[in-house]
Amino acid sequence: MTVVERREIALVDLLDRLLAGGVVITGDLTLRIADVDLVRVDLNALISSVNGKVPPPWQETPREETP
């Protein structure tokens, strides 16, 4: 990165907030992100990386998915 300082917000920082934060409105009139079955691999990883309750990083957490 040479000259200009990049002030543009990184998309991941944005999606951390817009897809994992914000008020979730449930109801039949709206489409919830959580319902979306994302196909694209990179996007899928992105969504799962910003969703869900996440413990502080310094805890070793064997995350078990027990549906």
Binding site: I9, A10, L11, V12, D13, L14, L15, D16, R17, L18, L19, A20, G21, G22, V23, V24, I25, G27, L29, T30, L31, R32, I33, V36, D37, L38, V39, R40, D42, L43, A45, L46, S49, V50, N51, G52, K53, V54, P55, P56, P57, W58, Q59, T61, P62, E64
Partner: protein, 267 residues
């Protein structure tokens, strides 16, 4: 263009100032306001072709579309933060018409007011800690003379990586403790995948802090100071954001700290 749906960005208290005239939201449509029950919804009328359930579902799988929509959404929220403290909604919240939106506002009115009161005058700061994996592991591996040399070199490398990781965690924990002390609330986001973020190094902490506007300067100074003496580590600050990570109604929200216990409860 087909009939318009309502893409809603945020719920606010009534605010006096006007939004910038040239502000555009998602789909390039300028946002407008809908007042109801003493609350204001900020929305754009968007084409059904793109925002009805089916098309929206498809669009969300397109990273370019998602990116530009997210930026447009953020642009509107950002503009709102200059005149009020908005309660941002999750990306992709769409209503069929004004009446659906009004019904929703009525149903959640009390919660909106409670949350707006709690967030009034607060902003969110993002703080990330990275472990610089590349430069900190220079070791221009001298050719091992023997198997034993090789194993020793390997051991040294592994140990130093473990130590670096441990040091990073210790640093992050201390930084978090000091920042949380200056914040009203905090959330831990998942560490970012470096492939997706394109950021150098390994993200070891990705936290959000809720800070009163008036306390922001002090908070930022605290972060800046932490940036100074951290060899092999990088601290990154983003914000101020609208309080996206703190919109959950706290009536029955568990404290983040408590998750430690829950985690250990039974594996």
């Amino acid at each position: 263009m087909t009939a318009g749906l309502r893409y809603v960005y945020a719920i606010c208290r009534p605010f006096g100032a006007a939004l910038q005239a040239q502000l555009t939201g998602v789909a390039g449509v300028p946002p407008k306001l809908l007042s109801h029950h003493g609350l204001v919804a900020v929305l754009s009328e968007v084409p059904e072709d793109d925002f009805a359930e089916g098309p929206l579902r498809a669009h969300l799988e397109d990273l370019d579309w998602l990116g530009s929509t997210a930026r447009a959404h953020q642009g509107v929220i950002d503009a709102l933060t200059t005149v009020t403290t908005p309660l941002p909604l999750r990306l992709g919240t769409v209503f069929r018409d004004d009446s659906g939106l009004r019904t929703m506002i009525e149903a959640r009115e009390a919660e909106f007011r409670r949350t707006l009161d709690r967030l009034e005058g607060r902003v969110e700061w993002g703080v990330k800690v990275y472990l610089d994996t590349e430069p900190a592991a220079p070791a221009p591996a001298e050719k091992a003379a023997s198997g034993r040399d090789y194993l020793r070199q390997r051991q040294v490398r592994t140990r130093s990586r473990d130590e670096m990781w441990e040091a990073a965690e210790t640093f992050a924990r201390a930084l978090h403790r000091s920042l949380a002390g200056r914040a009203e609330d905090h959330r831990m986001h998942a560490p970012q995948n470096s492939v997706l973020s394109g950021a150098a190094g390994q993200n070891v902490m990705n936290a959000a802090y809720l800070v009163p506007r008036g306390g922001s300067e002090e908070f930022v100074e605290l972060v800046d100071r932490a940036k100074d003496d951290t060899p092999g580590l990088r601290v990154e600050l983003t914000g101020p954001w609208a309080p996206y990570s703190f919109t959950e109604d706290t009536e029955d929200t568990e404290d983040t700290e408590n998750t430690e216990n829950t985690e250990e409860e039974r594996a």
